[in-house]
Each structure stands twice: as structure tokens, then as C-alpha cells.
């Protein structure tokens, strides 16, 4: 029963949602809203599990005096500080919680995002080498695209922008659509496997087929 009940629930829920997609009646729309609301509720309860895991992991590291214990202490202090500020002084604009979010969290978030630019440069430096004909083609296309996008392209060659647009509009889009078609078919097949109970390892049953 421990293995069968989740499979039955998966099949019935999947069948209901499949039928719901094709039925525009108000009953069907309300059923979709009902399921979506319940997903959000369950996700919120699951957050309690996540926070429990977070606290348990970091307190264990501090207790064991792990070499990374200082990082765990910082993580726990910041977590508790935001909880206290949010509960004590609320989260409205101008509150201490809002200050911490706007002037501490958001700059850190933006910093991590901005690191992406440097990683792109290093990845491009490693990748764009003319070792094979395909790599050479990739290098030429990338250079044409980069030069066609920068503001100086008019000074370099007015046609570069057109070349860049053509590369994005035709070969890049064609390849992207090919990948998306494969992804669509693959996700359909995977969904069918899950609905029919052919794929069960995600339920932790340890048994396939």
C-alpha cells in the first residue's frame, strides 16, 4: 500500500489535470484554482521543513566546532535577526526589515549577478579557440555577433548589425526550436511514465519498471 497509494494518487491527479486542460467550464477552472491554491499551501508548510533543516545543520556545525563553523554562525545570526526584525517591527517600507532587505540583501544579490559578467569573459576566453572546423565557425559567428551588438558597430562596419540579427533570427532560432521540440516530446514521455507508474524511483520506492 505504501508503494501503490502514491501511484494511484499520481495517476488520478494527472488524469484530472489532463482533462481539465480541455474543459473550459467554470467547474473546471475552479478545480484548477483549487489545486493551485493547495500546492501553494503545501509548499508553505514544506518551508517549515527547510528551515528546520537549515537550523539543524548550522547548529550541528557550531556544536562540533567544524572548520566552517564561523560561516554557520553568521548564517544563523542573520536568519534570526531578520526573523526578529520582521516579527517585531513588521516588514513595511521603512522598517528595519526593509532596510536589511534593501541595503544588505539586494546589493549582495546584485553582486553575485554581476560576477556573471566576469565568468562569461573567462568562459569565452577558454571556449573560442579555432581547434576544429566547428570551433572555428563558432568563433567567427561569436565575433560577428559580439561586434554587431556593441555601439561601435556603426564605426566598424554598418553591416555587422545585420549579420548579428541574421545569426540570431535564423540559425540560432532554428537550433533553439529544435531543442525545444525535443524537450517538449521528452517531457511528455517523462510525464506519461510518471502517470502510468512506470517510473517510480522519485517516490523513493527503489524499484523501476
Amino acid at each position: 500500500m505504501r508503494r501503490t497509494l502514491p501511484l494511484i494518487i499520481t495517476f488520478l491527479a494527472g488524469l484530472v489535470m489532463f482533462v481539465q486542460f480541455f474543459v473550459p467550464h467554470k467547474l473546471s477552472q475552479d478545480a484548477l484554482k483549487y489545486m493551485t491554491d493547495w500546492m501553494r499551501i503545501i509548499g508553505t508548510f514544506a518551508l517549515v521543513l527547510g528551515i528546520g533543516s537549515l537550523i539543524q545543520r548550522h547548529t550541528a556545525r557550531i556544536r562540533q566546532r567544524h572548520r566552517d563553523a564561523p560561516y554557520s554562525a553568521v548564517a544563523l545570526c542573520c536568519f534570526l535577526a531578520m526573523v526578529v526584525l520582521g516579527i517585531g517591527w513588521k516588514t513595511e517600507e521603512g522598517s528595519p526589515f526593509d532596510w536589511g532587505f534593501t541595503y544588505v540583501f539586494m546589493p549582495l544579490d546584485a553582486t553575485m549577478f554581476s560576477v556573471l559578467a566576469f565568468f562569461m569573459a573567462s568562459a569565452a576566453y577558454r571556449t573560442f579557440r579555432a581547434r576544429t572546423p566547428e570551433a572555428t565557425l563558432l568563433l567567427v559567428a561569436s565575433l560577428a555577433l559580439m561586434f554587431g551588438r556593441i555601439p561601435l558597430h556603426q564605426a566598424l562596419d554598418p553591416h555587422l548589425a545585420g549579420v548579428a540579427e541574421w545569426i540570431m533570427a535564423w540559425p540560432a532560432t532554428a537550433a533553439k526550436r529544435g531543442i525545444l521540440l525535443g524537450v517538449a516530446l521528452g517531457s511528455m514521455a517523462m510525464s506519461l511514465r510518471l502517470l502510468l507508474g512506470i517510473e517510480r524511483s522519485h517516490l523513493g520506492t527503489g524499484k523501476e519498471g
Binding site: A46, L49, L116, A189, H202
Partner: protein, 467 residues
């Protein structure tokens, strides 16, 4: 009093509506003798005229307030397939009380024989000197509804942001006095129902249903063949074949394996595919007793993956080696998660990194940081925008459908392999359709509009189109 000719026109309009089977209710506003009418002639929408409403706005009954909205009409919303919609039409009042101005309108609705209650969204509708149309949803087809419209009047010198209706919250940053509008209600319009337009099947999606059923048939057909034990050829995918090598390398070096299952929640198919691959990786790490690190962004994913890894350790007979703290929740903030995983990579120095699932902008940050530590990296994602980054920075990359196929490749179960064959059939069908469409489009351009190829292309696109 309404003149006989005008009364006759009104009766004719009602009769036409009843004959058409559409519920129509008209409430007209009186214009007292010598009273001022609207400054400009009001245009009656074609939709109302088609429903039987007179093309010219009829005169209002004399016993009604001239400052109430005129001619409230309700029609079922034919475009709403759920059968829950209605369209409310009304005309502006004939007169405005002195010293006041018309700020807007408020809608009221009553179900069956209940009381009229204000429609909450939107709380009020702007005032225009033309016929207003408001689409109202959320009606049950077996109930009858009546609607009224209230004209909202405010003192003429009141600013646009300084007034509201009863029940509306005053803005916190408002400077000045908050004025409550005076409401003048129209006569009720209705009863109406939306039953005639409630559909149980959306015909516009029939092509999707046929395609899905054909695909499922193909899958089941190949499944039947697989059960007969027929060998199926699969092209080798280097990324999948390298999984065992990566785990072996980590075991030899005595370093942990890092497994990132993407940033999407558990309802994403790619996350489930990633969890299935994690189960197989966990079996190997359990056999070799290699440390496994699985940082999670979603608590539900963490819970499911703990169960999967635990089952994997139980399956190889090493339950004591399982450490539940090796699968842990980090944060649901995108770049906070990435920062934490990057820190883990720099401190723990895993020998093998697996990035399986759906990723966003952080994919290159993860892959590049892992590359600097010298780890072997195997990525798999169906995010088409991130595939180039993984191809660049990782040793192996499973692109798109290869992520979904990985579980079948690793298990080598005939039933799972049959699905891959059905996918290939689907790709052949799609490729054929694309080729036919491209040929038809080319010939349509060459032959010109109005030719047989243009008509064929039009029909072909109509079959494929969906809304």
C-alpha cells in the same frame, strides 16, 4: 410619460431579445420635462443592437432619478467558454446634481433572490461620456443574477486621488481630505444566466488532444514491443556514459560528489528527472561509500531527495552509511543559493559536480566555479538559454531531452527504452510536418496568393494553430 412610438420600440427590442433566446434587461432613466439630456448623442454598441437593443437610446421612464445611470443592459459573454461571464452595458446619467461631478460608476450584483452586493474588483469604474462595458466573471450557470450600476458623485473641486467609495481604503500617503462619493443607483438589470455559453470541451484545443493521444498510442505500442524482448539500438550519449567514471574518480581521490538538482520546484518535470538520476548516482556512492553533497533550493525537493537517497543506500545494504544531513536546504533565493554552493565547491573541493535540472542565470557561475576547482562536471538541463553555458564550462552536457532520457539509459530497462523510441517517432512526425509546411509556404509565395498552395497552407496552419 413615454410616448406610444417609443414604447413600441422598447417592446419590439424586448421581443427580439426573447425570440433570440438571449436574456436582456433594460432599465431606462427618466429625463424630466425640460431636463437636459447628454451633451453628445450616445453611440449604441453594435453588440447591443444585434441583441435587440434600439439603435437610438430610448427615453427614460419619468419616475426615475435623472442622475442615475441610464439603460443598464446585461448580456451573456459569448467569448467566455467557462460560461461564467456576463457583459454589463450602461449609459451615463442624463443630469448631474448641481455642485457635483460624475467621478465614476460602481457595480452591484445579486444572485437569485439575494441582496445586491458591490462587485469588489474593480471597486469602481471610470466615467466616460459613452456606453460603458464591463465584463463580469465568476457566475454559476444554474443561478440567476441581477445587476445594478451606481453613479458616483463627488464635489466638483475634489481631486482625482482624494475620493473613494464606501469600503475602499484611504491611501496612506494621501494629503488632504478623503471624500466618500455619493451613490445614485440605477434600476436592476436582469435576471440573466450564462448557461447557454458554458462549454464542456474547448474545440480549439482538439488538435492538441489528437496529438497527445497519438503520441500515447505510439508509446504504448513500443512498450508492447519492448516487453517481447526486442533489442533496441540507442545512440551513445557521452555525458551519461561518463557518470560512472566521474563517481569512480571521486572515490579514488577520496573527495565528495556535489549534486545540484536545479532551481525549479518539485512540480517541474526536469526536477523529477534530476531526482531519478540522483537515485542512480546515490546507489553508486552507496556502493563505494563516497560522500555525497546535495544542496537544495526547495524544501519539498529536499524531502523527496532524502527519501530517494535513503532508499538507494538501503537497496545496496548500507543503511548505516546514509547521512540525512548530506541532503540539506540552503535558501530559496537564487543568488543566495548560488553563493552557498560556490562556497561549498571552494571549501569542500568535490571531485565531481553534477548539475541536473532547470537552471537560470546562475548556471555559468556554478559551472565556472566548479571548473576552477578542477572537478569533472556533468550537466544536464532543458533550459535552452543555459545549454550554451554548460557546454562551454562543463566536461559533458546533456541537452534538452537527453536529460529525460538519462534515467532510461542508466537503468537499461526495456520499458523505459521503449519511450525513447516513441519520442523518435514523434520527432519524425514533427519534422515531416515542418518540411511540408515549409514547402507549402515556399510554393505559396512563388505561385502567389489565391492559388491552391496558399489555400493548402492556410488549412495546414489552421489545423496546427491553437489558442
Amino acid at each position: 410619460m413615454i410616448g406610444a412610438r417609443r414604447l413600441g420600440r422598447l417592446v419590439a427590442a424586448l421581443g427580439l431579445s426573447v425570440a433570440a433566446g438571449l436574456p436582456v434587461a433594460i432599465a431606462a432613466v427618466p429625463v424630466p420635462e425640460g431636463g437636459a439630456g447628454p451633451a453628445q448623442p450616445l453611440r449604441v454598441p453594435a453588440e447591443l443592437v444585434e441583441a435587440g437593443f434600439p439603435a437610438q437610446l430610448p427615453p427614460p421612464p419619468p419616475d426615475l432619478d435623472p442622475s442615475a445611470p441610464a439603460a443598464v443592459v446585461v448580456l451573456p459573454d459569448a467569448e467566455d467558454d467557462s460560461g461564467a461571464g456576463a457583459k454589463l452595458f450602461w449609459f451615463p446619467p442624463a443630469q448631474t446634481p448641481s455642485g457635483m461631478r460624475l467621478g465614476g460608476f460602481r457595480l452591484y450584483e445579486a444572485a437569485d433572490s439575494g441582496r445586491f452586493k458591490p462587485v469588489l474588483q474593480p471597486p469602481r469604474v471610470s466615467a466616460d461620456a459613452v456606453c460603458k462595458v464591463q465584463v463580469m466573471g465568476g457566475h454559476w450557470p444554474w443561478k440567476t443574477y441581477r445587476a445594478r450600476v451606481a453613479a458616483l458623485y463627488i464635489p466638483a473641486d475634489t481631486g482625482d486621488g482624494n475620493w473613494g467609495v464606501k469600503g475602499e481604503r484611504r491611501p496612506k500617503d494621501l494629503k488632504g481630505e478623503w471624500v466618500l462619493a455619493q451613490e445614485v443607483l440605477s434600476r436592476p438589470a436582469g435576471p440573466f444566466t450564462t448557461r447557454p455559453y458554458a462549454k464542456w470541451f474547448d474545440l480549439k484545443k482538439i488538435n492538441l488532444l489528437v496529438t497527445a493521444l497519438l503520441y500515447c498510442t505510439a508509446v504504448l505500442w513500443f512498450l508492447r514491443h519492448a516487453r517481447r524482448g526486442r533489442e533496441m539500438y540507442l545512440r551513445p550519449i557521452p555525458g551519461i556514459e561518463a557518470v560512472d567514471d566521474a563517481i569512480g574518480r571521486a572515490t579514488e581521490m577520496g573527495k565528495p560528489i556535489l549534486y545540484v538538482s536545479g532551481l525549479d520546484p518539485i512540480d517541474s518535470v526536469s526536477t523529477i528527472a534530476s531526482m531519478i538520476i540522483l537515485g542512480r548516482v546515490a546507489r553508486r556512492t552507496a556502493e563505494y561509500e563516497t560522500p555525497l553533497l546535495v544542496p537544495c533550493r526547495d524544501p519539498l525537493v529536499m524531502t523527496a531527495e532524502r527519501e530517494i537517497v535513503k532508499e538507494a543506500y538501503l537497496a545496496v545494504g548500507k543503511p548505516d552509511a546514509y547521512d540525512p544531513e548530506s541532503i540539506f536546504y540552503v535558501t530559496d533565493s537564487q543568488f543566495g543559493y548560488v553563493a552557498a554552493v560556490d562556497g561549498m565547491m571552494m571549501r569542500e573541493q568535490p571531485a565531481a559536480n553534477f548539475f541536473m535540472g532547470y537552471f537560470y542565470a546562475e548556471s555559468l557561475i556554478l559551472a565556472e566555479t566548479g571548473a576552477t576547482t578542477g572537478a569533472i562536471q556533468i550537466a544536464g538541463t532543458d533550459a535552452d538559454t543555459q545549454i550554451p553555458f554548460f557546454v562551454t564550462a562543463c566536461d559533458y552536457c546533456l541537452m534538452g531531452e537527453e536529460l529525460y532520457a538519462a534515467s532510461a539509459y542508466l537503468a537499461r530497462e526495456p520499458i523505459l527504452l521503449a519511450q525513447l523510441k516513441a519520442q523518435d517517432v514523434g520527432k519524425v512526425v514533427i519534422g515531416t510536418a515542418i518540411t511540408l509546411g515549409a514547402v507549402a509556404a515556399t510554393l505559396a509565395v512563388l505561385v502567389g496568393e489565391g492559388g491552391v498552395w496558399a489555400r493548402y497552407l492556410g488549412k495546414f496552419l489552421a489545423i496546427l494553430a491553437t489558442q
